[in-house]
Symmetry: C2
């Protein structure tokens, strides 16, 4: 199978490694607007060649869109205009905008909307890693709007990557990711800004940064070009969660202000219940 990967960064590059390794792709064509990244993707052996997207789409059996969600929204209708029997899939973190953009496109059914639940705070082809997706979940959205053969190819791909499949509507997906991904990024960004704001006064602070701090703040290294469009497109769900989070934080504040340590204990013990979800 000839596979095109549009966007050869962290996610696209990690797909390239996996698809070569498991033999699913006989040839991988990269499409990459950033010249440095294009050269890097070639030199790292992630892709066999770099071409423009039109040539890539015409030559491929499967096209994977691994670019920021706003770019997917822009490019996807043009790609579908050129599609015959190829399968097109995306890996974007948010689905409503992308699906709205192609909802009434005559080739909509060649597109499969997916979201593999894996990522790191790094970006670019150099951030691509081997074995990235193993054991994680991947979401397939609104699969009844896609042709069965297209869904089957995408399912086979994810299974070979070692992922387990979860099916939901785009609307459900977008609510869930607001909780389990987007709010984590916002708290991490805000935590970094909190500490950086005070660093002006307190320089020594950074000598002490422990593993706990690194863990809560590491997502703050995530790429703005990727995250602004995600938060923009999931604005309403994210605001809903952010308001809930602010209200939860204000409970901690009230406990300390009023020296209500029994309630503080209760809040922490309630938070401990997260153990039943995380190992």
């Amino acid at each position: 199978m000839i596979v095109s990967i549009i966007g050869t960064g962290l996610i696209g590059g990690s797909f390239a490694i996996a698809l070569k390794e498991n033999g699913m792709a006989d040839k991988i064509i990269g499409v990459e607007s950033n010249k440095e990244h294009a050269a890097q993707a070639l030199s790292l052996g992630l892709v066999d060649e770099i071409t423009g997207w039109e040539e890539a789409v015409s030559q491929s059996d499967l096209v994977i869109l691994a670019i920021p969600v706003n770019a997917v929204e822009e490019l996807l209708p043009s790609i579908l205009n050129k599609v015959d029997q190829q399968v097109i899939m995306d890996v974007g973190s948010i689905k409503n905008g992308i699906l709205a953009a192609v909802s009434s496109h005559p080739k909509r059914s060649r597109f499969v909307a997916t979201h593999p639940m894996w990522g790191t705070e790094y970006s670019g082809p150099g951030a691509a890693v081997q074995g990235a997706f193993i054991g994680k979940a991947t979401v397939i959205c609104d699969q009844e709007r896609s042709d069965k053969d297209a869904v089957a190819i995408v399912e086979e791909l994810y299974r070979r990557l070692g992922m387990h499949l979860v099916y939901m509507t785009a609307a459900e997906h977008d609510v869930h990711v607001a909780y389990i991904s987007h709010i984590s990024h916002i708290t991490s960004f805000a935590l970094a800004n909190t500490v950086l704001e005070k660093e002006r006064e307190e320089d020594a602070i950074f000598e002490l940064a422990s593993a706990g701090f690194e863990s809560t703040v590491r997502l703050a290294k995530s790429n703005a070009a990727m995250w602004v469009p995600i938060l923009m497109q999931n604005r309403e769900n994210v605001l809903d969660v952010l308001n809930e989070h602010l209200s939860q934080l204000r409970k901690f504040k009230a406990c300390l202000e009023k020296e209500n340590y029994d309630y503080l204990q209760e809040l922490i013990e309630n938070a401990n219940k997260i153990k039943r979800i995380l190992k």
Copy 2:
């Protein structure tokens, strides 16, 4: 050297492993009020025997207090009453209360106040790990209030554990830990409560939890018995940081509400500067 470890949990137990391994302790006496933990500490070989604290102090050259900070504050004056030339050290996450409690004690100078910057979200003897402290920083507070020989023994201990030493006043320490540890715990507790609050409506959410979510929320598993006293004793500094954090989060909220994505980009790019501190 005979060492007593009062509190044979995560930190005390990890000390025990390290001190036996590097040969600093010929014998380790454990003091543990939780009977299950006492039995576990013995069966895991963390300590050679379990006794009451008075007997332990009288037999030891060095006593390490590894119990919650409120318990240290309570017990330390009584321990110093029994001290001749022994060295007493604590490993508590907050210093003002502990030091105030013994400030005018005639044996104050046998006590060295320390805080090794290592921990995990787990607790109890079973959570103790080998090589816990290697490469991390440890803080020694107000060392001019301690006898030189006592400080020298504690310094030697931490160096043999592979830690680098940082010296500061208790007041400085308490401000710094509010930034690099306490606020991370509060955001993590609040994030867990945010998600758990909504789980009632949204059950499937947990199938999708990714590494990013786990990373920001893992501190929410931390023990309430340890954290309520810490937050209580560092109340003013924590409130100061929490207010700053709330104001940083409200900036993200305002960006989304007003759809000001240029400013959102700016906030995220500012947060990215945390890269210069974290690898």
